[in-house]
Symmetry: C2
Subunit: 207 residues, 2 copies
DNA sequence: ATAATCTATGAAGAGCCGTTCACTTTGTCA
DNA sequence: TGACAAAGTGAACGGCTCTTCATAGATTAT
């Protein structure tokens, strides 16, 4: 049973979490390559050797952290998309959830972006295949909501995949700006702009 | 005069360019940290020592490459935005230029994204301050075009900075997808979706 | 209390990579 | 042509970082 672990096993899991938390802090500031195992160990108040008892090697530690991070975020976003409501309500909830989530967990958000955006350009030796699969799943869900909305004549008939990518890109752009300049905008302003740009016409006069 | 360099100097510049080209290929595939100077040397058909005659150290080489890359892209985009025409025409030209540009220079585009997007999260020891300043300048230009369009009642009255960020994020999202799956979409389809999403209403029925 | 088992430690090993420099080759100019 | 300067070379060095492992400590079972 998952709940009836020995004290040993429970503590082991706790230590794992502590190491991952330390790694998150360092990675989100210095990046993967520039963070040494010795630093992680120091930050987590363990010896280097202990890290190797908890994780096979540095890559495994990274993978675990990325998977953890991406999973947590995607789970929250998926939940927002799956809750009941109209297509428009679901998408608006997605935007709000994403904004709130990212602001509350900025180091995690940094890592999330580094893995969903950047990882696309420089294939890092499969460090993130699983994580990317999870992300693609969420994108598929977004896409299906757009498709359903198009069927119901709620949205313009544009390739739903494009719409999904577009909404993702738009929200990301705003959130990245927020990560860089936390005091220039609030999460609410941001979410509102997102909704207006995406769901109202931008251009007032046709040609 | 810039045009009257000695043969020596001209060849030196040529060799510099060759080294940068080799580095671009390797960086865009393996990333900065995982590319060794020896690899760059081999790819460029020079000895390691020669690289150090052309660039102070690895960081200087990276900086030169990034600056080069970002400058070329931003110059083309700025030109598209500054050419005559209405606000809408300028922005549509921006989208088209960006799509064509990125597809024609995919390795460069990878590096461009890695530096404009990713670099935002993990401050890489000022590897890219200059490059980011150039990028911000282009964003400012985008913003001013939106502002002007809003004054003329061409666009919805949304914070023009948000609009600039939004258009950037939207185009990037599509182009990143294109880098990953080059055969799923054409540049034209992409540019059209971009324009439609951004300049037509998405949502058909108000609530 | 004692043995057995699991966990933690951190110094030492091994490999990689950026950088240097003494030397060779090539080009320039008188 | 010969001498001087610049460019090119790559083996060797030093530092850094991942990983291991013999040892020490803690916990549990007998």
């Amino acid at each position: 049973m998952a709940a009836q672990l020995t004290r040993r096993e429970r503590e082991r899991q706790q230590h794992r979490r502590e190491v991952l938390e330390a790694a998150l802090n360092l990675f989100s500031r210095r990046g993967f390559e520039k963070t040494a195992m010795a630093e992680i160990a120091e930050q987590a108040e363990f010896a280097v050797g202990t890290l190797y008892k908890l994780f096979k090697d540095k890559n495994a530690l990274c993978r675990a952290l990325i998977l953890d991070t991406v999973q947590r975020f995607e789970r929250a976003l998926t939940a927002a998309l799956k809750a009941p409501g109209s297509e428009l309500e679901k998408l608006e909830r997605y935007i709000e959830t994403k904004a709130a989530l990212f602001l509350q967990h900025m180091p995690t958000a940094r890592l999330y972006f580094a893995q969903t955006a950047d990882a696309a350009f420089v294939p890092t030796a499969g460090l993130n295949e699983e994580a990317r699969a999870i992300h693609r799943e969420m994108l598929g869900l977004l896409e299906s909501i757009f498709r359903s909305g198009i069927r119901k004549k709620l949205f313009l008939n544009i390739d739903p995949r494009m719409l999904a990518l577009g909404l993702e890109g738009l929200t990301n752009a705003f959130l990245i700006e927020l990560l860089e300049r936390p005091h220039d905008f609030s999460a609410e302003t941001m979410a509102d702009s997102c909704k207006t740009i995406f769901f109202e016409r931008i251009h007032l006069k046709g040609e």
